[in-house]
Symmetry: C2
DNA sequence: CGACTCAACTTAACACTGTTAAGTTTCGGA
DNA sequence: TCCGAAACTTAACAGTGTTAAGTTGAGTCG
């Protein structure tokens, strides 16, 4: 228990100190505002100190939004309780939408910015629906397929999930990138999200007879 | 006749020289590669010379993708010939998709990057379906509504257009941002686009009886 | 206890970026 | 011929991410 562990703990503390400062700047003022020097200012260290804890800016930002992937999966808590797969799918889509609108800066980094193929050391456990948002979505789609709620030609859960995802992503990302665009007479954001889920689900389901 | 016009013509020539050099860099290596100094190198001028023709980098890039909006609208040439509004809508969606996949760097700038509200001096004539891609889409949706091809509750052409757009944008932008992501077992890009148009249209149309 | 080690940090610098101030060339018009 | 302005260049500024070299201070060991 000597000072060996104390050092390690202190190291972890300053690590999260940096992480928190960066996140705060980031969520408030966006990617552009996050400069190494501004982070350093905020925690009253020199800019170089950060490099002792993170390889570079990219991995720092990466680490920030890594935690957000977990956060996203937890937004599906309400949806997870729904038994009917179709209703569950709808609620999941809307929860995803709300997440994106609430944290646009995180969303941009997570889903709208191409990243170099970074190492696969993530916090979230891949495939676990409680941590992996995509796995959660896929599990719903699989359930819907198993219960024969979709059109008979829709047998690939992966493909359907990706389309469902893309639809909601389209609404969110178009909003983030174009909400100040005056070219288009935008309809209500909520309405657009609603119409997207409804239309997609309506287009996917097997219409009873 | 006089050198008055020659000067003006020369000025226009170097303007497009810059524009072409910038576009070339941009389409080949992406936004990050476009630095004022690299553009200047390529046309053998000093970096400062560019500022004599463009206010700043932002407006330069803006001007480049302004021309691309026109280009996009012209991709709908084939779709424009289709009489049936539903088929026309599908083909338009796929043409949009192909454009995004073919010119990802342009697409990123046009639709995935938030811009400060820049002046409304565009090349394209707003509302003209032959130049304004959104207007083209909306005209199809209006036609479909008029011909009662959509569900009776769908009366707002703007809202439906925006949803249709968002759907295809979702497929394209997710591809551009995440095509190197190994987290997801991506299905074929073409298949995803196809399923998106089909599902959306299927979810919108009035199902005959 | 004193010497040594090494992690944690700082200062100074490098190579970039977009952008501008100031100076130079060039050339048509009076 | 001289003037003025347009078109350009050189040099610089303030900023960026990042690194090389030096400093400090606490833990280890003879």
């Amino acid at each position: 228990m000597g000072p060996r562990e104390r050092r390690e703990r202190e190291r972890e503390e300053i690590r999260t100190l940096i992480l928190d400062a960066a996140r705060e700047l980031f969520v408030a003022e966006g990617y552009e505002a996050v400069t190494m020097r501004r982070i350093a200012d905020r925690i009253e260290y020199s800019p170089t100190a950060i490099y002792f804890h993170f390889r570079d800016k990219e991995t720092l930002l990466h680490e920030i939004c890594d935690a957000d992937f977990l956060e996203l999966a937890q937004q599906f808590g309400d949806a997870a309780k729904i038994a009917d797969p179709i209703e569950k799918l709808k609620e999941t889509g809307l929860a995803y939408f709300r997440f994106g609108v609430e944290f646009p800066n995180h969303y941009r980094l997570m889903f709208m910015t191409p990243h170099p193929p970074l190492g696969d050391d993530h916090d979230v456990e891949k495939g676990n629906p409680e941590e992996d948002a995509y796995a959660f979505l896929k599990s719903i789609v699989e359930q819907a397929i198993k219960e024969k709620r979709f059109r008979p030609d829709l047998t690939d859960a992966e493909l359907v999930s990706q389309t469902m995802w893309a639809g909601m992503h389209g609404v969110v990302s178009l909003h983030i990138a174009k909400c100040n665009d005056t070219w288009v007479e935008w309809r209500g954001l909520e309405d657009r999200a609603r119409l997207m889920v409804d239309t997609l689900v309506n287009g996917l389901v097997r219409h009873g007879r």
